[in-house]
């Protein structure tokens, strides 16, 4: 077994993420995949507005920040004029599935040849714990204090299930970072999503169920349990689409 250590695709800085935050694991996986595929020098990454907004400080590649929810549109602009570059967005559930719903769906439907890493932590992390489109039924947040579903909030939005019907979509998989096995699977999925882009196959999205101990108001261990028990039930893991 080789030495396991931080890939050089991540900068040598401490992140601003809270202790136990799943973003950190997801960052590492994406960075390792970029390293393993040898694409760092032709990668352009798009940071969301969300807790990951500062990821431009953490990744050793060209990066841009973007208006909240618009990364798929911006990615379209970048990829269309630079089809030989590897373009990926990294987005939270608020960014991708609330304000950015239209941009997500239409980039997917156009089959833009991009990779989307979708961090589903069932909450608006950066703004302090408001209800996300993916907040679970009955789950409390600062804007669903009686538990989601009591006041017409509707059920959680399932992004992979939603996008599956779009003919333009190439690859959809839902993963998690709450057990070592899940982390390995997530990395495989992320690698595939990038490889698809390299191979010109079109729109690939990997959903990552991720811990937000701070806004869930849970300990690390409880957060891991929450993903493994509650979230995986509401958002079953697996491949939702694979055009091959």
């Amino acid at each position: 077994m080789p030495t396991l250590k931080r890939t050089e695709v991540l900068t040598d800085v401490r992140t601003h993420y809270c202790p136990g935050c799943g973003h950190g694991i997801a960052h590492r996986l994406v960075a390792e995949v970029i390293e393993e595929l040898g694409i760092r020098e032709r990668t352009i990454a798009i940071a969301p507005v969300g807790c990951a907004v500062l990821m431009y400080d953490y990744f050793n590649c060209d990066m841009t920040e973007c208006a909240h929810g618009r990364p798929p549109a911006m990615a379209t602009g970048i990829k269309r004029v630079q089809p030989d570059k590897i373009v990926f967005t990294y987005q939270g559930d608020g960014d991708l599935a609330a304000i950015g719903t239209a941009e997500t769906i239409h980039a997917a439907n156009r089959g833009e040849n991009i990779t989307v890493i979708f961090i589903n932590n069932a909450i608006y992390g950066m703004t302090g714990g408001q209800m996300a489109p993916t907040t679970l039924t009955g789950m409390r947040s600062t804007t669903s204090q009686d538990g989601r579903g009591k006041h017409g909030e509707g059920p959680p939005l399932k992004v992979c299930e939603l996008l599956r019907s779009l003919d333009g979509v190439c690859y959809l998989e839902r993963t998690a970072v709450s057990t070592p096995k899940d982390v390995n699977a997530a990395k495989r999925a992320i690698k595939k999503a990038f490889q698809n882009q390299i191979d010109g196959k079109g729109f690939s999205l990997v959903e990552v169920l991720s811990m937000c101990p701070t806004d869930w108001k849970l300990s690390t261990a409880q957060s891991v349990d929450f993903v493994n028990n509650e979230m995986k039930e509401a958002f079953p893991l697996g491949v939702y689409k694979d055009k091959g």
Binding site: L54, Y56, E65, R70, M74, V81
Partner: protein, 359 residues
């Protein structure tokens, strides 16, 4: 001079963009600018450019954001309600100091309004409809030929200053066809190398395009100061206007775009009637040619602002004049336009009032 061909303002803007090397267009249909995406959808593939019909104006401006970060000349186009939707994106692009062209072929407002020509988005364009202290260079052509010329210039200024440029037209300037000379593009400024673009960090340090400035704590203050310095520089270097028969004018008309054309007609009518009238037509609305008005205010008796809106442009005229002479107003919104005769009437009443010493 080359042969002239008959083209619509909207089409000419597109062709000028293509000539100037624009290779990315994203837009969403809206009357009265539909010729623009239609033309671009056909023309872009011919020049190996990219046309994307976006799912919305929001998506369009953010696609342009991405294309500009990639270093390509790029543009979007819309009309009033669609431009409102782009305001967040414009603020971002200005904050990130990226070049692009945004065309607003104005229609009647507020709300859905109608599709007649209007100049009621002046404040939005010139003061900034988005959030924060940013500026967009705003150009107001008055003829189809000028649309051609200014569109080319727009791309140069955008690159030179790393700033969005807005072409502020209206339903008439976009829809009217005039003979125009299509000449090849030649840059009018020395264009700086695009050393900020994102094209993969091969052989160099990674770059970041961003508008969020958290560190140091007053980083955003510094960034704003930097922007303001740039804006000052643009104000010093770029301020275009046409002056017409102002030398001896007792009354100077202030008008821009289509309105200024009609005002020019009124100047002729007035002169025939023996009233010494002139015209100052700003071509850049921001930077506003304040000096021209300040100077005119020293020698003329009064200024008449004519606009197809309810008193927006007049504020910049008044700010420039700073009380040095009276500034009168003629204007309405919602698709109204002035005729030469109407302007003349207003001028005659102003002249009469002055004669009576009854200002």
């Amino acid at each position: 001079m080359g042969k002239k061909i008959l083209l619509k303002g909207n089409e000419v803007m597109c062709e000028a963009a293509v000539q100037a090397g624009c290779r990315f267009f994203a837009g969403y249909p809206i009357t009265p600018q539909n010729e623009v995406p239609e033309y671009m959808s056909k023309r872009m593939p011919q020049v190996d450019g990219v046309f994307v019909q976006a799912e919305s104006e929001l998506a369009a401006i953010n696609m342009v954001f991405g294309a500009s970060a990639s270093g390509v000349r790029c543009m979007t186009s819309s009309s009033s309600p669609g431009i409102s939707l782009k305001q967040e994106g414009i603020s971002y692009i200005a904050g990130a100091e990226l070049p692009c062209l945004i065309a607003n072929v104005q229609r009647g407002g507020p709300g859905l309004g109608n599709i007649r020509a209007s100049q009621a988005d002046y404040f939005q364009a010139v003061k900034g409809g988005g959030h924060g202290d940013y500026r967009v260079i705003v150009l107001a052509p008055a003829s189809v030929q000028e649309i051609y010329n200014l569109t080319m210039n727009a791309f140069d200024w955008a690159d030179y200053y790393r700033n969005p440029v807005m072409l502020l037209g209206d339903g008439i300037s976009g829809q009217m066809a005039e003979p125009v000379e299509i000449f090849p593009y030649k840059p009018i400024v020395d264009l700086p190398a695009k050393d900020y673009i994102l094209d993969g960090c091969a052989g160099r340090k990674p770059r970041v395009v961003k508008t969020l400035v958290l560190k140091p704590t007053d980083g955003l203050v510094t960034h704003n100061e930097h922007l303001q310095e740039k804006y000052k520089r643009i104000e010093n270097e770029l301020s275009l206007y046409e002056e017409y028969q102002t030398a001896d004018a007792d009354i100077v008309i202030a008008a821009y775009g289509i309105t200024a054309r009609i005002a020019k007609g009124a100047v002729s009518l007035a002169r025939k009637k023996g009233i010494a009238v002139g015209l100052i037509r700003p071509i850049t609305l921001w930077p506003f040619p304040s000096d021209a008005f300040a100077t005119a205010a020293q020698t003329t008796g009064q200024i008449l602002t004519v606009e197809m809106s309810h008193g927006q442009f007049i504020e910049d005229v008044k700010l420039a004049v700073n009380g040095a002479c009276p500034v009168e107003f003629l204007g309405k919104g919602g698709g109204w336009y002035p005729t030469e005769e109407l302007i003349l009437e207003k001028i005659e009443s102003m002249a009469a009032a002055t004669a009576k010493g009854n200002l």
